[in-house]
């Protein structure tokens, strides 16, 4: 098997395993990454919401926030894990398409 095929399979395995990145923090009751709190959490941590943070925090409405489908926030871990895998597949499809496009534009076509 060609190395490149093995590497793509490796990426595939990582996609399938990716919900571990959701389940382990849940299991060990770990919260957000440091400095990546939502504004409610900031309020709890420091007792107020910094004005600029409050204004900018909602600047961008990501279509799939935190790798979860909108409206699925209250669904259980299996649904969230499913959304996580779909997000990984979708994200990688887009990242790969852009990288190949950039690579195609930048690479020397003659060889």
């Amino acid at each position: 098997m060609k190395l490149i095929t093995k590497l793509w399979m490796g990426i595939g395995v990582l996609i399938i395993l990716s919900p571990l990145g959701l389940m382990l923090p849940e299991h060990f009751k770990a919260g957000s990454a440091w400095g990546e709190w939502g504004i409610d959490e900031v309020q709890k941590l420091v007792g107020y919401i910094p004005k600029g943070l409050e204004k900018l925090a909602s600047l961008w409405n990501a279509p799939i926030p935190d790798y979860a489908f909108k409206g699925w926030e209250e669904k259980g871990l299996p649904s969230l894990s499913f959304a996580y895998i779909i997000s990984a597949i979708l994200g990688i499809a887009i990242v790969v398409t852009i990288a190949i496009f950039i690579g195609y534009v930048l690479s020397k076509k003659e060889d």
């Binding site: 990426i11 770990a30 919260g31 994200g91 990688i92």
Partner: protein, 227 residues
């Protein structure tokens, strides 16, 4: 390590976009000179790898989470300039599509994870593995050490960027406008968790993949560099 919108003031956001623009321009010029068509799939795999590895949030029990970036591995295999492009693509998609990292902070996040991390990691790896044969154990160790130090360097910068905000922006009553924590708290938190946990994960992942590739494709380890 993905700084969200609202944690950096407009001046910091603008500053890091201004720093990254010439770096991105230079990266495309340098990669254009050396990238061969047959290396494009590796560029895509590199971008895909860093995207997915960052989804593996590792918990600190009862505390926060963090993750590896995989950027040093991509730099070892593709060279730092191509790695800069691959990681940038992953970070931009994470910000726009998944809200992982703010859009105002793309400049800063790319400076930390797509510039400082792959470049410091790449040159540390080069220095430690200097003249080592492709199959040498020194390369595996070099990859691990470079990954550990580079991730911590990126974490320290992130902590610094968070921590200077209260110095730059305060209301008259003394409340912070953006990140509310100062340098001592931000640096201690970011450095502590990356030195103790996440740096080791970056090191182990990087070293293991280099070891695997030594067996699979010594040529890639020896000369896989794109730019």
């Amino acid at each position: 390590m993905h700084i969200p919108d609202g944690y950096l003031g407009p001046d910091s956001c603008g500053f890091f976009y201004a720093v990254m623009l010439p770096i991105w321009a230079l990266a495309s010029r340098i990669v254009k000179k050396s990238l061969k068509a047959k290396q494009v799939p590796m560029l895509a795999i590199g971008a895909a790898f860093t995207f997915v590895i960052m989804m593996f949030n590792v918990p600190i029990p009862g505390g926060s989470t963090g993750h590896a970036v995989g950027g040093v591995l991509v730099a070892i295999l593709l060279g730092p300039w191509a790695a800069c492009i691959a990681i940038t693509v992953a970070l931009v998609v994470q910000a726009l599509l998944f809200g992982d990292g703010g859009i105002t902070a793309i400049g800063a996040n790319c400076f930390n994870m797509a510039f400082v991390l792959p470049f410091s990691g790449y040159y540390l790896y080069k220095a430690i593995s200097f003249k080592a044969p492709a199959g040498s154990g020194r390369r595996v160790i070099a990859a691990g050490i470079a990954a550990y130090i580079a991730l911590n360097l990126a974490a320290a910068l992130t902590g610094f960027e968070f921590g200077i905000q209260p110095l730059l922006h305060k209301t008259a009553s003394g409340q912070a406008l953006y990140c509310p924590y100062g340098l001592n708290v931000a640096l201690t938190a970011m450095m502590g968790e990356h030195l103790l946990i996440f740096g080791w994960i970056e090191a182990i992942v990087t070293a293991l993949v280099v070891k695997y590739l030594q067996k699979q494709s010594p040529k890639l380890i020896k000369e896989g560099k794109v730019a």
